[in-house]
């Protein structure tokens, strides 16, 4: 069967499956199984357990997921989240959207601690989302800034997707890491700016705190004391990773342990809270890991049936010209990103795109960062975006996936603005790596 028809059938099957309300993991997995059976052959069915074992279960990189979930859950049940956000409240003063800005800032810090796109969203979703909703924030504003903020995790180093890209495309991972910092900060600033402007114009989106008129500097400082613990924790995780003492995954374990210490110190640790943390971590881990299992089943069969050649032909059919090809490749990435996971997209496209990059004379580091920025949009662009599903799973009752889809749209647009800026001004990305490594 022709690969273009297979592609159509695969994605048609996925859309129908998703609409049916069957969990995403099982939709992707079942499509993988059915297509393997009919288009590859019964003899190849053994690939399903083989890839589940090799790609999803035995992966040291993915091991950071349960640990960062655990860290977030402990912080949530330690009451630390509320204290952290009341502190931000007090300092945020009357500024509308102060909490959303704080969430973006903390997400940015998280991005600098984790290599994946979900950790910031999961942790801030557990901590900042209830706080913002309790303070009367517009729920779309609250959901959007957390979803987009978390996606910074794959752009700001360390980043697992960057490592995969660097390996496959033979680009220095060190340079890629350094090149992610500028665009990451740029996007964070864009989000903050958007939140502040929107809340100035439409104060009901993020009501400011009125109470701080009466709070004294002493009270502010006292409130800030509660922030010291979490900040030390973040510094410990960040510091141990950047100083090279440990890997990102190991940092996630330190973070979980540190947060447990904070929980013990705040005297909130008891059997009930311990069980709530543990069970919550288990459920989220199960949900995330089974989506990854499903995504691998889906992506692997697509690759086996000839995705690489199909995409190469698509690229070759593009009109010529430096920016023409560039824009079309970006649109293709974005389209794939709407429905596939970034790891799978790197796997499928990078080996085919790289010769094009060579021929067209794009700077491979710059192109890599643009690719990652695009994949970052993939994390939050409907219908298939990990961060959207994470948000859905931790959002309070009454928030549907539709709310989340609508909430994320302005932030996807901001990401596109950021992507255009870095495309037009490559120095935003290339400045820091040039500073560190020279030309």
């Amino acid at each position: 069967m022709d690969i273009s028809i297979i592609t159509l059938l695969l994605f048609l099957g996925m859309v129908l499956g998703l609409l049916s309300g069957l969990p995403i993991s099982f939709v992707l997995g079942a499509i993988g199984v059915v297509f393997t059976f009919f288009l590859w052959g019964p003899h190849a069915m053994g690939i399903i357990p083989n890839l589940i074992f090799g790609k999803a279960m035995m992966s040291f990189g993915l091991l950071a997921i349960p640990l960062f979930i655990l860290m977030g859950a402990v912080l949530q049940h330690s009451g630390m989240a509320d204290k952290l956000f009341s502190a931000f409240h007090i300092w945020g003063g009357r500024i509308g959207g102060g909490l959303a800005v704080a969430a973006v800032v903390v997400c940015t810090l998280f991005a600098a601690m984790t290599g994946i796109g979900g950790a910031g969203t999961i942790t801030m979703g557990l901590i900042a989302l209830p706080a913002m909703i309790a303070k009367g924030y517009n729920k779309r504003m609250a959901l959007g800034c957390i979803g987009a903020g978390g996606a910074l995790g794959i752009l700001i180093p360390p980043s697992i997707v960057m490592i995969i890209y660097g390996m496959i495309c033979q680009v220095s991972v060190g340079r890629l890491f350094a090149a992610g910092i500028g665009p990451g900060v740029l996007l964070a600033l864009l989000y903050v700016l958007y939140i502040l402007v929107l809340c100035k114009v439409r104060p009901e989106y993020g009501p400011g705190v009125g109470a701080d008129d009466t709070t004294t500097l002493k009270e502010k400082l006292l409130a800030t004391r509660t922030v010291i613990g979490p900040l030390l924790l973040i510094l410990m995780v960040l510091g141990s990773i950047f100083s090279g003492i440990c890997t990102a995954t190991e940092g996630s374990a330190l973070g979980a342990a540190g947060s447990l210490v904070l929980m013990i110190k705040s005297r909130t640790l008891n059997w009930a809270s311990f069980k709530a943390v543990s069970i919550g971590t288990l459920k989220l881990t199960g949900m995330v890991m089974w989506i990854i299992i499903g995504a691998y089943c889906f992506a692997t069969i697509y690759v086996a049936l000839g995705a690489a050649g199909f995409i190469r032909d698509l690229v070759q059919a593009m009109p010529f010209g430096y920016w023409g090809v560039f824009i079309l490749i970006q649109i293709m990435f974005f389209g794939l990103g709407m429905v596939l996971d970034p790891g799978a997209i790197v796997m499928i496209t990078a080996p085919i795109i790289m010769p094009v990059v060579d021929t067209m004379g794009y700077d491979p580091v710059w192109f890599g960062v643009i690719f990652i920025m695009n994949m970052q949009a993939a994390y939050i662009s409907p219908p298939f975006g990990y961060n959207l599903f994470y948000l859905k799973s931790i959002a309070p009752a009454g928030i549907g996936i539709k709310d989340i889809y609508l909430a994320i749209v302005p932030f996807v647009l901001l990401q596109i603005v950021g992507l255009i800026l870095v495309s037009l001004f490559p120095q935003i990305a290339l400045w820091i790596p040039t500073l560190i490594y020279g030309n």
Partner: protein, 328 residues
């Protein structure tokens, strides 16, 4: 019409590596042309279908018809795989490796070793056909963050290594660790590791290790590594004899081409490029070299205990090395 065989071949390498376009073309264009379109082998790159660690199971159970991996990935199932992957201070050039594997017809000059027959025997016990090995060869070497002028300099060093090189490093007082290739650059950069073994100068250069490790230990501490190409037994048996011959020829031809262009000429090129980037080449000589060899030969003896076939292989290797004058 004649039956058309459509196979899937899971490779360990990635498409962007130099020479891979040619390698792929051998299976997807040349081979069909050679066989009148009756054998079509579709190439998949590292991790495309299954992870390298699970590739042996995939070819044994027939998920894919063919895999091409360094044998170290089979070590957990096939005890002799460590020897195949490389005995420290073993074979030193790709052409000697070819000679050791296939050197049948010149018994008077070159001993008449034919290691491939032993490997076929070993792998047949595990239900797979050993199609080819010893053709897609690459030299491997060490790079360090600090100069290694004597054997004592290895003491206390944390080195990313694989296979028996881990044991070798540890016998010399270093510490062998296995970390995935994608983490190696930053581990070297931050000093989490002090050195690395990797596939030769060209490979080191493409991984940009010379940016973070300035000392190259050369030559000949590491054995020549090679790719092992395995075929599912049922798929192999179902293949008509003329296609079996064509497939083996294609694998040998493609592998030797990769060796010639990338892994051997590329080695010389990579060394020059790194020298330009300020990399110093260190040599172990005299007593240090002797000590290093003794430690390695001790490992050979231990490996030989693992099975009769292991003993046979190590014996062959010793015989070969003595004939070539590398070993006393």
């Amino acid at each position: 019409a004649e039956k058309v065989f459509r196979w899937k071949y899971q490779q360990m390498r990635i498409a962007a590596e130099p020479g891979m376009a040619y390698y792929k073309e051998m299976f997807e264009k040349t081979l069909p042309a050679m066989t009148n379109g009756r054998l079509k082998v579709q190439m998949f790159w590292g991790g495309d279908l299954v992870k390298s660690t699970d590739a042996l199971d995939a070819v044994q159970s027939g998920i894919v018809e063919m895999i091409g991996m360094p044998s170290i990935y089979f070590k957990g199932v096939i005890p002799e795989a460590s020897i195949e992957y490389g005995l420290p201070f073993g074979i030193r050039t790709p052409y000697e490796m070819y000679n050791f594997m296939y050197g049948k017809d010149m018994p008077n000059m070159f001993g008449g070793w034919r290691a491939i027959d032993v490997y076929r025997k070993i792998y047949a016990k595990h239900g797979v056909h050993y199609l080819a090995g010893g053709v897609d060869c690459w030299p491997a070497a060490f790079m360090f963050r600090s100069p290694i002028n004597s054997i004592g300099d290895i003491k206390g060093k944390k080195v990313r290594a694989s296979g028996l090189m881990i044991s070798w490093i540890e016998r010399l007082g270093g510490q062998g660790v296995f970390i995935p290739g994608e983490e190696a650059y930053s581990a070297l950069q931050t000093g989490a590791i002090d050195g690395i073994t990797w596939g030769g100068a060209m490979g080191m250069h493409s991984m940009k290790f010379h940016e973070v490790a300035k000392y190259y230990l050369y030559p000949s501490l590491m054995p020549i590594n090679h790719l092992t190409v395995l075929v599912n037994q049922k798929a192999w048996d179902a293949l008509p004899e003329d296609l079996q011959v064509a497939l083996e020829q294609a694998v040998v031809r493609a592998g030797m081409d990769i060796t010639a262009h990338q892994n051997w000429s590329g080695e010389q090129w990579g060394l020059r490029q790194m020298a330009k980037a300020g990399v110093t080449i260190n040599h172990l000589t005299g007593e240090d070299l002797k000590k290093a060899e003794e430690v390695a030969y001790g490992l050979w003896e231990e490996e030989a205990q693992k099975s009769p076939e292991a003993a046979e292989l190590v014996g062959m290797m010793k015989d070969y090395m003595r004939t070539m004058g590398y070993m006393e």
